[in-house]
């Protein structure tokens, strides 16, 4: 690793984002050290997904900076950020629906492969070897998320929970160092949620990942995460280990306010 051990994987500095006067994220700062499983919670509309969009370059910040392994990535386009090693899933699942599960994962090998038009079309030995490797790795990832039995099934035909797992496989194909999971347990039953927790723990351990997790299901977050940040109306109102955050008065108020 070129980045030293002391450098955080993600640094968020005074990040602000507003849409036509509405402030979605307001002066949020935090940093995520390497290997951490970092939870992001908050009521609906608190700015969690916007924060993900900012980190992955889909939305440009109004102010503030983003650092990835010490490098300033503010304002880079999404594909450049992806190439640096930040991968994500989407809150409302954005798979390539008409394509097979295997193709979905193979596409995300894009930045880790390099065959050009000519090599691919003519079928140069290097391109063919790369293609075999891409397929092998994609199949292994499907295996990892438990979908290895249906590689040729169209993505849109999978059950909702399986689509979420497929999205995780696709994100992992990028060989990210930082993985952003946007409500991966949404729509899953309790058995599936347990399986998902194990999967997330497993991939962190096996792939040496840093993970940012947005999740509504509070027990899951409390159980999984090393630290948790709480957003409310775009502001960071609490940050700490699960036990501390749970007792934080501002958090209790925000959640009760949401219920009322």
């Amino acid at each position: 690793m070129s980045a030293g051990a002391g450098v955080d994987v993600l640094g968020v500095e005074g990040l602000t984002c507003s849409f036509g006067g509405v402030i979605a994220v307001s002066r949020v700062s935090f940093s995520v050290p390497r290997g951490e499983l970092f939870g992001l919670i908050g009521p609906n509309g608190a700015g969690k997904t916007t924060l993900f969009n900012l980190v992955t370059g889909l939305t440009a910040p109004t102010a503030g900076r983003l650092r990835y392994r010490g490098r300033d990535i503010t304002g880079l386009p999404p594909h450049r950020i992806a190439a640096l090693g930040i991968a994500r899933t989407f809150q409302n699942v954005r798979l390539f629906g008409e394509l097979s599960a295997l193709q979905n994962v193979m596409i995300a090998r894009h930045v880790r492969t390099k065959s050009g038009v000519v090599g691919g079309v003519i079928g140069l030995p290097s391109a063919r070897a790369e293609e075999r490797d891409t397929r092998r790795r994609a199949l292994a990832l499907l295996e990892l998320v438990g979908l290895a039995d249906r590689p040729d099934e169209r993505a849109r035909n999978f059950a909702y929970g399986d689509q979420r797992r497929l999205e995780i496989a696709r994100a992992l194909a990028l060989e990210p160092e930082l993985l952003l999971l946007d409500e991966p347990a949404a729509g899953m039953n309790s058995g599936e949620k347990r399986g998902l927790s194990e999967l997330i723990r497993g991939i962190r351990a096996r792939l040496d990942l840093t993970i940012l997790l947005i999740e509504h299901h509070v027990p899951l977050v409390m159980d999984l995460c090393d630290r948790i940040a709480v957003l409310n109306f775009g502001e960071l109102i609490a940050l700490g280990v699960p036990a501390a955050v749970q007792k934080h008065p501002a958090v209790i108020e925000a959640y009760l306010g949401d219920e009322a």
């Binding site: 849409f19 036509g20 997904t49 969009n53 889909l58 939305t59």
Partner: protein, 316 residues
């Protein structure tokens, strides 16, 4: 450039631009409500021009299925124009049923709707050709009785001559525009139309019946297309079944310039393109046809929301 020549060009530009404006309004109204481009608009324009021709009692040529046919009536030109526009309006409704509604009920991709409307446009234009042949037609020489061929808007020493036909089409366009303004601003239906145009979701929450309004939009759009077809036919003749297609493409330039779906923008865009065309220097006159498209290209690249439009934020 002398001031009289300048004035002459302004007047000519406004005349043609006013037709662009009402034609483009027909496009933009539909876009504002359905978010699609209705490529049949050029064919509707042609239909209007042919219908007016038929209603004046003039005879068709030799090549089509209806060679030498003529309607047994001789409407005065103004009535024929209104009749032709009404015929175009009815055609608009039929087009909505055939090309748009089936796709809308299936929730299809807007690009497919565009393709479907192109298909219907091709079919319509070729129905015209099948029935009336490919030849050019022109309206009776004196549709409004004995008028001088040109009018002088200057002095006798410094004349500013404008063809009477140009003055007439400007006048008719202004009347149509005034009627439309009243309809959109002073009637319940018009207000509902504007509400839907600005925000379909809110409009449906407010209980505005969008299906009926969509139909009404196609009626108005068809009427506007039909009137403009007749007016352009009056100015330069009906150059055959395909003449609406070329005009339809220019109309696209107008609505993009004004901002897709922007109603005042279509009027401004129409007048601007009319003026821009009339100010092409004489030695480059052959390139005039390219002016709307060059403007279209430049506006798309620099300001895709149009001259008057606001940028839209994409939602992730």
């Amino acid at each position: 450039m002398s001031s009289s020549l300048l004035l002459q060009q302004v007047l000519n530009g406004l005349a043609i631009g006013s037709v662009y404006a009402i034609f483009a309004l027909g496009y933009t109204l539909i876009f504002s409500i359905l978010r699609i481009i209705n490529f049949t608009h050029g064919a509707i324009f042609t239909l209007g021009a042919y219908a007016t021709y038929a209603l004046t009692g003039a005879r068709f040529g030799f090549n089509g299925l209806l060679a030498n046919a003529a309607l047994p009536l001789h409407l005065p030109f103004v009535l024929a124009l209104i009749g032709g526009a009404l015929f175009a309006a009815v055609s608009g409704v039929i087009v909505e049923r055939l090309a748009f509604r089936p796709l809308r009920t299936r929730g299809s991709d807007p690009l497919l709707t565009l393709v479907s409307s192109l298909g219907v446009a091709v079919a319509l234009v070729n129905v015209i050709q099948y029935l009336f042949g490919a030849e050019a037609y022109s309206y009776p020489a004196d549709p409004f009785g004995q008028l001088p061929s040109a009018m002088n808007f200057g002095t006798s020493t410094e004349p500013v001559l404008v063809r009477t036909v140009q003055v007439i089409i400007f006048g008719v366009s202004m009347v149509v525009l005034a009627l439309l303004t009243v309809l959109m601003n002073a009637t319940r239906t018009g207000k509902a139309l504007r509400a839907v145009a600005e925000d379909t979701v809110t409009a449906s929450l407010l209980g505005i019946n969008t299906d009926r309004l969509i139909l009404l939009t196609f009626v108005i759009s068809g009427f506007l297309g039909g009137v403009s077809g007749t007016l352009i036919g009056l100015s330069v003749g009906i150059a055959g079944p395909y003449f609406g297609i070329a005009f339809g493409l220019k109309g696209l330039a107008v609505i993009v310039l004004g901002g897709l779906g922007d109603i005042p923008g279509a009027v401004v865009g129409g007048l601007l393109i009319g003026l821009a065309e009339s100010f092409v220097p004489a030695q480059y006159i052959a390139y005039r046809e390219a002016v709307p498209f060059a403007l279209l290209f430049v506006v798309l690249l620099l300001r895709p929301q149009g001259l008057l439009g606001r940028a839209v934020v994409q939602k992730v």
